[in-house]
């Protein structure tokens, strides 16, 4: 029975522009801007090294994901269109405690496995020089318990892909006074600084893993040593200035009190709450429009959102698209696209 001529479909396929793909046979190499799909032969040249997203049999390299082919030097890999966050050393992430275990916490950072936060990697109240004691191990829940949010830095990535975090700096630690949201991790562009102060007494932490924290600005740990608003905008653009933003030993002593692990939220005024909500909806709009999220775009988005008096209206798809359009036009005008 001839296979090729017996199958037909009762209605024609709607999309005509995929004709070229139907013609593509297994033996050809796809164009560089084409999408390859699992099981498709990428190349039969044995000279390539096989990277992520591929598998091989003898000389043939096949794709294992749907994505585009990347040929860098001698490494052939397929980058998937969508994927979970992959932790890398140095990433500033926001996470949620899922488990309290033996001298360690398990933290959900939206990766394939939960990250680990060792007891020795956190600041214990009482100063940086304080030593870990037995009783600390038994009181771990007093520091961080299941459900707490924190921001941390990825210290190492193990062989199996899971991450180890640390919060050994004052800018890291338990989060409070705010609201949590997620965006696709691919939209958060890696930069030197992920914590920004936004106008309206709001701060944002854009975790590289796509977890975002919006909160009322904490005056004492605000992201600039000088409480000058103009100065702080320049600083958070990522200009490197050694010594800036660091604190003296005495400041550390003050701040490593039990307060850093307190669960108590401050009183937040209605205006600040409104601002936080507005920023939340703006970030959601950026995520919907699949635009990369930066401090500049959040500010532009905030400006654009002011035309909507009712903050609740921002959750409508029309408003979201409106805001994204405004941001893009604005950027084009400024010439910084």
């Amino acid at each position: 029975m001839e296979v090729a001529d017996i199958i037909s479909i009762s209605k024609p396929s709607k999309f005509e522009d995929v004709d070229s793909d139907i013609e593509m046979s297994d033996g050809e190499e796809p164009r560089d801007n084409g999408i390859v799909t699992p099981g498709e032969l990428v190349t039969d040249d044995p000279v390539w090294m096989k990277g992520h997203g591929t598998y091989f049999l003898k000389d043939n390299t096949y794709s294992s994901v749907a994505g585009n082919v990347s040929r860098v030097n001698r490494l052939l890999s397929v980058i998937p269109l969508r994927g979970k966050y992959q932790p890398e050393t140095g990433d500033h992430v926001v996470g949620r405690i899922t488990e309290v275990g033996n001298k360690r916490w398990k933290v959900d950072i939206g990766a394939k496995q939960d990250a680990v936060l060792m007891l020795g990697s956190v600041n214990l109240p009482g100063g940086v020089l304080r030593r870990k004691s037995e009783s600390d191990e038994l009181q771990m829940r007093n520091f961080l318990k299941e459900g707490d949010l924190l921001n941390a830095e990825v210290q190492t990535v193990f062989n199996n892909g899971s991450a180890s975090l640390h919060t050994r700096s004052l800018k890291y630690g338990k989060l409070r006074n705010g609201i949590f949201l997620t965006v696709p991790s691919s939209l958060v562009i890696k930069s030197k600084n992920h914590s920004h102060d936004l106008p309206g007494d709001v701060s944002v932490i854009l975790g590289v893993n796509g977890f975002v924290w919006l909160n009322k600005t904490n005056k004492s740990t605000s992201n600039s040593v000088v409480n000058n608003k103009l100065q702080s905008t320049i600083d958070s653009k990522g200009n490197y200035d050694p010594g800036k933003g660091s604190v003296s030993i005495t400041r550390l002593e003050e701040e490593s009190s039990w307060e850093i692990y307190s669960d108590k939220n401050d009183k937040i005024s209605a205006t600040v709450r409104d601002n936080i909500t507005r920023y939340y909806n703006v970030i959601k709009a950026l995520s919907h429009g699949e635009l990369g999220i930066t401090e500049q775009r959040i500010n532009l988005g905030y400006q654009a959102s002011l035309q909507f008096g009712n903050i609740g209206k921002l959750i409508e798809i029309e408003s979201m698209e409106n805001i994204c359009q405004d941001i893009i036009t604005n950027e084009r005008m400024r010439g910084s696209m």
Binding site: Y55, F56, L57, N60, Y62
Partner: protein, 275 residues
Amino acid sequence: MSYHKEFIKNGERLNGRKLSELRVPEVDIGQNGELTISAGDTKIFIKISSEISKPYDDKPNEGILIINNDIDNDILSRIVEKSIRKSNALDLESLVISTGKICWIIKIDLNILNFDGNLIDYCILGIMINLLLYKLPNYDIVDNSIKLYNLDEKAPISLSILHIPICFTISFYNPSTIEMNLKSDEVFEISLFDADKQEEDLRDSYMVITLNSNKEIIQLSKLGGIPINSVEVLKLCEICYDKAKEMTQWIKDVVKKEEEKTSDRVKMLAAVDQR
């Protein structure tokens, strides 16, 4: 364990059988409806019992067949149901005494006594032999009640078996890598029949096929597991059919021998009576 797999790759089995060779089962027949089937160390006790009851409301002209399993094995239950009930091996319509009012319930109870691989095939084999041998007591309908006779008072009735399903579980082993199995055109997978427990633990996947000597396939289940070339599957079906013909003949011989034994016994008892 890998040395065992090496043997299998070379076509040899630790139990000395060929890859396509089945164990020869032994059947131990007790009283009416009691049967123990053993093959190697696998041993199953099957009991058939019958009762008078009312047919289901939505099936007034059919009797009732219930198959019970004492171990909670989904796959075994599903395949036994598909092979025996769904294929109508036992003619349920023949179990009706009075449409909508009185019918027989046939209950089959499976008791797994010892497991050394290949439960499914031997359960079905045992059930079929037992069904073929089972005798229902004869009856008379007096007014609106039913009078049952003992098995030796009036000649008992055999069950109406429409066909004999034979089941084969084929185990597959992948001698090389997954990539070879999926992308290479050559057929690599090794198939063997009637695996014992060791072989079952090692196997990569399996396929269960039930057919009868009328060249009908009753059911075929390959529910996941390593992919097998369709040409191989068809080849295996042909092999199974040949074996099914042999098995059917073997079953008929076993049944015939047992019936002769029973009729001899009856004749002997009758002779004693006459004196």
